[in-house]
Symmetry: C2
Subunit: 122 residues, 2 copies
């Protein structure tokens, strides 16, 4: 994982349309026409986003004549997630501080820890 690849991955993810395209491709490959439909956007505008995603290696185009469906290439997303993972202790610590504060405000005895799943249910 070169710094350049991480730059390209994070830059490609910094746009809601491009994230929505990835979410669509997570359901299965799709042609450019199929990708354009859900967006209130011209095909050239969507194609520009596809080019950014393709250059970052987040999608690829099949070599079928005409349709050339796009498909998700998840490896760079995994590398980006791995980079973020190093900071997990910091956001977890923050959630624990918020939990402690909430307990204090509600006059409860502070809990030690709480699982992610439990926190999600709140």
């Amino acid at each position: 994982m070169t710094p350049g690849q991480l730059d390209a991955t994070f830059a490609a993810l910094a746009d809601p349309t491009r994230r929505a395209i990835l979410a669509r491709l997570a359901l299965g490959e799709a042609s450019v026409n199929e990708l354009v439909k859900p967006f209130a956007m011209s095909q050239p505008a969507v194609s520009k986003h596809l080019k950014v995603l393709e250059r970052a290696g987040l999608i690829s185009a099949a070599h079928e004549a005409q349709r050339r469906p796009r498909r998700l290439e998840a490896r760079p997303l995994g590398e980006a997630a791995r980079w973020l993972e190093r900071y997990r202790q910091f956001w977890e610590a923050r959630f624990q501080r918020l939990d402690a504060l909430l307990d204090e405000l509600q006059g409860r005895k502070p809990r030690r820890t709480r699982t992610k799943r439990q926190r999600g249910r709140r």
Copy 2:
């Protein structure tokens, strides 16, 4: 988590200097002068990066007069990681395909699955 926050987080992460600043702040808070030192970069250039990180909510500045040390604010990193997490099945599947291919090339019987830890050790 608004789309705008994710945009800002990913855009802020799309630069090696800004990622290095976050890595430094993960070790503890630091003044601008301390943050400038390791970089072959002018203070205004580093300050510009700090502003991007601060606007994205990834760092904050303490209100101590003069020194105003910067500190890591990890919550948006956690939200970004959560977004990426939805794609985990895709990059894991890819690793499994690579494992299977490697087994095939080495003439071994395909394994069923492999833990992340084991894969990391290779």
